[in-house]
Symmetry: C3
Subunit: 193 residues, 3 copies
């Protein structure tokens, strides 16, 4: 199980310091047979889009429900990540179990996340409807499943993230400040710093 952590953002930002979790779900990448491209694509988004200080915690796990659940729970409950994103394992194939693991550890499902992620991908490929991606919350963490390919990851997260900082606000988490040229995150006026 590979893991590392990286930091970014600038301390003079108006935002607070935030912890993000990245979980790559892949049998092959977790055995080192294949270099993970999904995790670095998500990290690339954070590096470009987040102005406020952040630290990303990365885990790479095989397509096993128990292992994926354990990784989400650790990043949510022990590390304290306000956002946890997974990549991989959301298709209809028998080894794809990321949505099952995510649903099992979420206290609440946010159905709009899955709906919008599929609607975004559907603009690019008709097979987007085969994806079972979901999103939800566990305590103060927002958790959602991204696609596996770097291109599809960025198509999805660049758009979806517009709702994430305000979602984190509503859960009592840190104020995440974004670079509007990459991701024009929205907050109602009363919630803006």
């Amino acid at each position: 199980m590979g893991q590392w952590q990286l930091t970014g953002g600038v301390s003079e930002s108006i935002g607070d310091s935030a912890l993000f979790g990245i979980i790559t779900v892949s049998d092959r990448a977790s055995k080192g047979e294949y270099e993970d491209e999904g995790g670095p694509a998500i990290l690339g988004f954070f590096a470009e889009a987040i102005n406020s200080p952040w630290q990303a915690h990365y885990r790479c796990v095989p397509d096993e429900i128990s292992t994926i659940k354990a990784a989400i729970i650790e990043l949510a409950d022990e590390v304290g990540c306000c956002v946890i994103v997974t990549t991989g394992g959301t298709g209809p194939a028998i080894r794809d179990v990321t949505p099952e693991a995510t649903e099992a550890v979420c206290e609440r499902i946010l159905p709009g996340f899955g709906e919008q992620m599929r609607a975004i991908s559907l603009k690019f490929v008709p097979t987007a409807i085969l994806s079972r991606q979901i999103g939800g919350t566990r305590g103060k963490s927002i958790i959602f499943n991204l696609p596996g390919r770097p291109k599809a990851i960025r198509e999805t997260i660049d758009e979806l993230w517009r709702a994430v900082p305000y979602g984190v606000d509503l859960l009592g988490g840190p104020y995440i400040d974004c670079n509007p040229q990459i991701c024009d995150a929205f907050r109602p006026k009363s919630a803006r710093r």
Copy 2:
């Protein structure tokens, strides 16, 4: 718990008399610390959009699952409302429990209601995906969750209501006749009076 009832529509309409339920879910409004704006916005829609005779029954309750469930059950089973709409309490915050209460008392979920309500709001704000709004049926009642703000209520109900009269028909309820300038409700030709 505030409550009142109001009537509208014209008796020369081709439609039948219908009972509607409005439930404002808000800790502050139910304590009188804040004047409810959501309930009146829904009432304003009924006043403008419904030609056939109607009576609206209003309840204002705190963000408590048991109280919201009791209000829906009373309006569906005792008062006999063919449509019950709630406003407030559908976000991801810990006090938001309206979708949970609605799901618990519905016999069937109509997933298209939640999907379309979020799709409508997404045209206005990217944070629409944080809403957990749902719709469903209990006996002959159609029940759905509207947003909390008057502007978002009208953006949603004016569009969504186009499907409601035919839905009520299919459940064996009264024929609701609408003002097409406000809400161009649709029925297959065979179902029109």
Copy 3:
């Protein structure tokens, strides 16, 4: 309970031979009081759209959960259909139970199927949100609920089917080759023959 089977496609296609199931759910059609138009509309799609050899197995059953479940299970587990489509029984009326039966026999739900089918129908009628259509998988079978009217069936399946052949690939089923003039099915380059 009416049933028949029909074959189509051309053996010189690059695809494999595939078995499809068609289930018409209708109290009246199953009693012979009414001629089924939904089943033939689905068959018409297969005849126009599928180049590779196929055999369709047809069943006509009443709106009873146990009977619909039995028909899906037979076509999936005994006949070995890689795709099973139903028509009828997806509305909110009390006799409409096709989605319940489908959900009960699916091992996994593919939420994108229901979402996209409603989104397609919503372009034609606002009452599309009343439909509770779902899709899912059971073993190697993809199962989904189409509307009841022939026109609505074709509006839906012509678009939705673009994702089905690749979905069947991912479940280890036969390679279905389509006529791109009717249905421009998509596969990632690496999955194309």
